[in-house]
């Protein structure tokens, strides 16, 4: 029994050390973004100020506005498309339509393809088709990246819905279309929303797949070109911290509650 208690304590300390390891660099980046005006890219701090944050929202804003709006546009579209495609794929798999196992393999392949490879392939494919690089191939690879996650969420949600509900609706005289819109859709709706949110967040932060595909920078690509081309200032840390904060806010305020709500509902049923 004593041994058990010690083991538990050691594991608890270990767990929090790993959490420090996972968040430590991000935390230090956030601290360094508050560097004084004369401070550099590393510790120690030369005073504490909002100098670099202010610079981010004044001097840097002009070059960031375009990438930010492009990122938001692609993320919204990715969210909607993966939710729809994931829902269709989930329905087909639920009914075990012929070919649905092939689709599952395709989605598994999408998850397993390294980002740089997909980006390179897409860039060559577009060149092969003699099309201008632009918005569509970018959207294409973002959907490929987010689709497996949306698909897993929707398959899980759909498998929990008792098909007898739909059957009773039919027995009571509802048309196929009415059963779909008035029985199935309201039940799946929160799952579709979670899938869309998942896709939105993943797309907003996507980098490896995008870099070779588009000539117009999204926000992560803009960050990349700042850190690889320029002499660095701590305003890069401010920008990095800002994207982390926004992402964590979306995850903990929107995504997690939407998934928790569904888990609750299933347990109640």
């Amino acid at each position: 029994m004593m041994m058990d208690r010690w083991r538990t304590r050691i594991l608890a300390v270990y767990f929090w050390l790993i959490i420090c390891f996972l968040y430590g660099p991000i935390f230090i980046m956030a601290v360094l973004s508050l560097q004084g005006p004369n401070g550099g890219m590393t510790l120690p701090m030369y005073g504490v100020s909002l100098h670099w944050w202010q610079r981010l929202f004044t001097v840097r804003l002009t070059e960031l506005r375009g990438p930010l709006f492009r990122s938001l546009a692609v993320a919204v579209e990715t969210g909607i498309i993966v939710a729809v495609l994931g829902f269709l794929a989930g329905l087909a798999v639920r009914r075990q339509v012929k070919g649905s196992s092939l689709l599952t393999w395709g989605i598994f392949l999408a998850l397993m393809t390294p980002g740089i490879l997909l980006g390179l392939g897409m860039s060559l494919w577009w060149r092969f088709l003699r099309l201008e690089p632009g918005h569509l191939p970018l959207l294409g690879v973002h959907v490929i990246w987010a689709l497996p996650f949306a698909y897993l969420i929707l398959v899980a949600v759909l498998s929990r819905i008792d098909p007898r509900l739909e059957e009773s609706a039919r027995d009571l005289g509802a048309s196929g279309f009415a059963t779909f819109t008035e029985v199935l859709l309201p039940l799946v709706w929160p799952g579709i929303l979670s899938a869309a949110l998942f896709g939105f967040t993943l797309s907003l932060n996507e980098f490896e797949r995008s870099i070779l595909v588009t000539s117009e920078n999204t926000l992560p690509l803009q960050l990349w070109s700042i850190v690889t081309v320029r002499v660095l200032d701590p305003d890069v840390y401010a920008l990095g911290t800002l994207t982390v904060l926004i992402t964590l806010a979306i995850v903990f305020v929107l995504l997690v509650p939407s998934i928790v709500a569904q888990v609750r509902r299933f347990r109640r049923d």
Binding site: P114, G121, G140, E166, F207, G240, V251
Partner: protein
């Protein structure tokens, strides 16, 4: 009885709405299938194709050649890069497994309530959603002679002199890669540990097995699939990595992903495609081995 129920359920799914319209379900399947075909399969096929085409100054012409592969495979520096990439990916996989397993174990077996378990898991998982560029940038102030790691180590008096090894080296890249990919190991192991029936462990304990014996003979074998799924994730991601290598490694570290990006900067498409194809071959070989030894497909 159970089989009967399942088939009954399946039958009623088939009788559910729009059941009369046979073709519509195939159509539903075709839409996501078409997207996968156009934006995943076609690019990969073209990639493999272009790797066999003759390069020109800023593109390629449709004449088949094996020159791209022979120039890569006879170049000592590319072979070196490929081997370094494989070694780093394997090392990252093994270290994330060793570090990540106790974390997943702690979450799945030590945390008593489901709610707390879920909350802690989410805290560990959340960095997954942030951009990999940002996570690599966050390592910039940690590394280097004046970096935070050296600063912490010297201020606390653990070492006297700053470590040079933390400056633009393969070592620094490996530390950062372990941190960035650790989540992909923890999550699948956590999921597979969560499905273990606790009565099995109690049965083993009742029969007199100690902690270590239960761990080795009950828990490890039952979490095998999670371990191998995690290993596949980390291996594939680490093989394709270039952001961490570029930002943390400076000029001192190399990876095939970075080489591909450099070829693309100089418009050498066939060389980039050939390097990528070699990456595919090695990655697929690694995944096949892991799937086989992990017996991952058995449970599906």
């Amino acid at each position: 009885m159970c089989a009967y129920l399942r088939s009954e359920q399946q039958r009623s799914i088939e009788r559910s709405p729009l059941a009369g319209v046979r073709g519509i379900w195939t159509l539903l399947l075709a839409i996501p299938g078409a997207w996968l075909g156009w934006f995943l399969l076609a690019p990969v096929v073209i990639l493999l194709l272009v790797s066999w085409l003759t390069p020109t100054i800023s593109g390629f012409v449709y004449e088949f050649t094996s020159a791209n592969y022979s120039s890569l495979l006879t170049s000592g520096s590319f072979i070196q890069t490929l081997l370094t990439t494989i070694f780093n990916a394997l090392l990252t996989t093994v270290i994330t497994l060793l570090i990540g397993y106790p974390v997943a174990y702690y979450l799945a077996f030590v945390i008593p309530t489901l709610r707390l378990r879920f909350a802690l898991f989410l805290i560990a998982l959340a960095p997954f959603f942030t951009s990999s560029v940002v996570r690599a940038i966050a390592w910039i102030p940690m590394m280097g002679r004046e970096g935070a790691l050296n600063w912490i180590l010297t201020t606390t008096g653990i070492i006297d002199q700053p470590l040079d090894i933390l400056l633009f080296s393969n070592f620094a890249v490996r530390i950062a890669m372990v941190q960035i990919y650790l989540l992909f190991m923890i999550s699948p192991i956590f999921f597979s540990l969560s499905t273990i029936d606790h009565s099995l462990i109690e049965a083993a304990r009742d029969m007199g097995a100690g902690f270590t014996r239960i761990l080795i003979e009950v828990i490890f074998p039952l979490s095998r699939q999670g371990v191998f799924v995690g290993a596949i994730f980390v291996f594939v991601l680490a093989m394709g990595d270039f952001a961490t290598v570029r930002l943390i490694g400076g000029g001192a570290a190399a990876s095939v992903g970075l080489a591909i990006q450099n070829f693309m900067l100089f418009m050498q498409f066939p060389l980039a495609a050939a390097a990528a194809s070699l990456l595919v071959v090695v990655t697929v070989a690694g995944v096949v081995i892991l799937v086989k030894y992990g017996r991952i497909l058995e449970g599906l």
